[in-house]
């Protein structure tokens, strides 16, 4: 082979390697390019024995929820059964139409059971809030207090969301953007409250007209483009230009009026905005529906707190779960009724995918303060047309509520499921190569529809 020919071949191979990502994206993105993704973090660590992995008898370490340690009055799905003397526990909800079992915390989501995919027995290997949260969202444990990998919402925004004005909005959701190989447009917009989006976009009308702002933004954008042409590293200036341009589009569309707290509450009265733990989350859910039906976002994540019940506040754990799943059920109901912005005749729910997870679960035994502490097991919930619905995957040890062999043919042999497996499966469901974002985890084909 001549030297010149060899160099041509070598250059072509190098270019193919360098272009791997765009080629991959181009090959796969159409499949889910107008789908929407909702990520919900139940912050604090939920008690899985109250909803996904119900226990109602004393066995091994397990001390079940009972009328002694749980406030049963507000629970819509608590049906008492004798535990010991005058003490009642709950009857496990075992519907005939799907092979699933639920505790009373499932609340309104019980009616949507045929659309749920529950994953039990997730091995967390941690009982630290930040670590468990990062592990659930990124598939990696913290390193030096920092997330060493991007979270699942960023991965999806990077693959499928860069054409959106707001690819990834994170309302107290533990998003992390790590690495230089990602598109900068996938940087999550992390805010403390959904209403902040409206506030940031609000502009006073007393001094400048909208046309003044258009002129200002056009000038700043043109300056950024001009500087990019002169710069050794133009991408930073181009990013500023794209972000400034996106701001202008958001301002032009007068979106601040649609995203104020008042506007969202009036448009979506179905949510309980005055709920003790869920006022902010309800606003986040309302923002989610509004932003999706306007086709502004690809991913929205929000957090719901109140699950860290180490003492007497455990009495409210089941009620808190009921409220959480009530928000999810209302969200699904709204998605069922809202038309998809780009697919004629389709509803948002046909192309919306929800993943709900927590830091970890709580101990099977009740502590001396009447609560439950942290425990390295977990469950997760998926509501997605791409997943097998009405099924529970993974399992736990009967006496200890610890993760047990999931019965999946993993490459390394039998083992429990872990968050990286769930995240890998979630990414794979949308034709995204998990290896680009996850170090660990195997795709569980059985979960996919």
């Amino acid at each position: 082979m001549k030297r010149r020919t060899f160099l041509h071949v070598l250059g072509g191979s190098a270019a193919a390697v360098a272009l791997r990502k765009p080629l991959w994206a181009a090959a796969n993105s159409p499949a889910a390019s107008d789908d929407f993704f909702i990520f919900i973090h139940a912050a604090g660590g939920w008690d899985v024995t109250l909803w996904s992995d119900p226990r109602n008898e004393r066995r091994g370490l397990v001390e079940p929820a009972s009328s002694e340690n749980t406030d049963t009055a507000p629970l819509t799905h608590w049906k008492g059964t004798k535990l010991d003397g005058d003490v009642d526990t709950f009857e496990i909800l075992a519907p005939r139409d799907v092979p699933m079992r639920f505790g009373p915390g499932i609340g309104a989501l019980y009616d949507l059971r045929s659309r749920l995919t529950v994953v039990n027995g997730l091995a967390m290997a941690t009982v630290s809030h930040p670590d468990g949260t990062a592990f659930s969202a990124t598939g990696r444990h913290l390193q030096g207090g920092r997330a060493p990998a991007s979270s699942v919402d960023v991965a999806i925004a990077n693959e499928l969301g860069t054409s959106q004005l707001l690819p990834d909005v994170a309302v107290q959701f533990p998003s992390s953007y790590v690495g230089d190989h990602l598109d900068r447009r996938a940087v999550p917009l992390r805010v403390a409250n959904a209403a902040t989006v409206a506030k940031s976009l609000a502009r006073g009308e007393a001094y400048f007209d909208p046309s003044d702002r258009t002129a200002i933004t056009a000038l700043v954008t043109a300056e950024a483009h001009a500087l990019a042409k002169r710069s050794t590293f133009p991408e930073t200036y181009e990013r500023i230009a794209s972000q400034t341009g996106a701001v202008q589009q958001l301002l032009d569309d007068k979106l601040e009026a649609a995203f104020t707290q008042k506007a969202l509450q009036e448009r979506y009265p179905q949510f309980d905005y005055k709920a003790k733990n869920f006022g902010g989350a309800a606003l986040g859910a309302a923002f989610t529906v509004e932003a999706m039906q306007r086709n502004l976002v690809r991913c929205v994540g929000f957090a719901i707190g109140g699950f860290d019940t180490h003492n007497q506040n455990y009495k409210q754990q089941a009620h808190t779960q009921q409220e959480l799943f009530g928000v999810v059920a209302t969200l699904v109901d709204l998605l069922d009724r809202t038309p998809h912005p780009t697919r004629q005749g389709k509803k948002l729910a046909d192309h919306a995918h929800i993943l709900v997870f927590s830091d970890f679960c709580r101990t099977p035994q009740i502590n001396l303060s009447g609560g439950r502490d942290h425990y390295p097991n977990n469950s997760a919930l998926v509501i997605s047309p791409r997943f097998v619905a009405g099924r529970t995957f993974g399992k736990t040890d009967v006496e200890q509520v610890l993760p047990a062999d999931a019965g999946v043919a993993f490459a390394g042999g039998a083992r429990p499921l872990a968050p990286p497996d769930l995240l890998a499966t979630f990414l794979h469901a949308f034709d995204i190569d998990p290896a680009r974002y996850l170090r660990d985890g195997e795709v569980v084909q059985e979960m996919l529809a």
């Binding site: 107290q172 940087v187 902040t196 940031s200 006073g204 003044d212 002129a215 200002i216 700043v220 990013r239």
Partner: protein, 250 residues
């Protein structure tokens, strides 16, 4: 034994007159006055002539090549640095002063509303610092910049503040400035916000900003507002400069 040798050696020592010859013996025989006389005679004699020679070329200097090309892309400043610059530009304000100054007429609210949106950590809700700029951050900084520029125009221009007490617009404004008048005043703002004179910037920058000035002034001509058309136009120039990519990156 050693000591005996040492003593014997000392007793055997001879004076130069006894032992030596040559110049030492010569001076020894002359004595001190004679030696001084000889030294003076030869010391005051005419110097020996040196033959001139061509200077040898200096060795070439060592050249150490310094690579001044940028090695890393520009980055967003940490939010604290950026906000500190903001506060400095508008008169060394404390954060709460800014909040008090910028509020009203839907220009700004309170810092608490924007901590995470600006990239700062929000410990109240356990949100960490953000490492990348995003659209919402640019929007929030734009909102704050607009509020501060408008307030500065109110103070410096509309309030007829003496030139020495002006904070941002430290020049004498003229109504409907021409190219040269605008460029002279724009240079003041350019130095303040971007840190260098406008003559070092790309040559068309002043013209682009003058176009913005004229567009905004024309838009507000004949309208009744809190600022005159020229003041509004200067506030617009300030708002564009404070959001300029060179002000946001380092």
């Amino acid at each position: 034994m050693k000591r005996e040798n040492y003593r014997q050696g000392a007793s055997d020592a001879k004076t130069p007159a006894e032992s030596g010859s040559g110049p030492i013996l010569f001076f020894w025989r002359l004595g001190v006055p004679g030696a001084l006389a000889v030294t003076l005679v030869f010391g005051c004699a005419a110097p020996a002539a040196l033959a001139p020679s061509a200077p040898a070329p200096l060795p070439p200097p060592m050249v150490a090549a310094i690579d001044t090309t940028p090695k890393e892309r520009r980055r967003m400043m940490p939010p604290e640095v950026y906000l500190r610059a903001y506060l400095g530009w508008f008169g060394g304000l404390a954060p709460l002063d800014v909040q008090a100054k910028a509020r009203g007429k839907n220009m700004f609210d309170s810092w608490d509303d924007y901590l995470a949106a600006l990239g700062l950590p929000d410990y109240k809700v356990d949100l960490p610092r953000q490492s990348q700029s995003n659209t919402l951050m640019i929007a929030t900084l734009g909102r704050l910049g607009e509020a501060l520029c408008v307030r500065a125009a109110e103070h410096d221009l509309h309030g007829k503040t003496p030139a020495a007490a002006r904070v941002v617009f430290a020049f004498q404004p003229v109504a409907a400035p021409d190219d040269a008048q605008f460029a002279e005043r724009f240079d003041v703002l350019h130095r303040l916000f971007l840190g260098y004179p406008v003559r070092l910037a790309p040559s068309d920058r002043a013209a682009h900003f003058f176009a913005l000035y004229r567009a905004v002034a024309a838009q507000h001509a004949g309208k009744k507002g809190p600022l005159t058309p020229d003041e509004t136009a200067w506030a617009a120039v300030c708002t564009a400069l404070v959001q300029h990519p060179e002000a946001e990156l380092y």
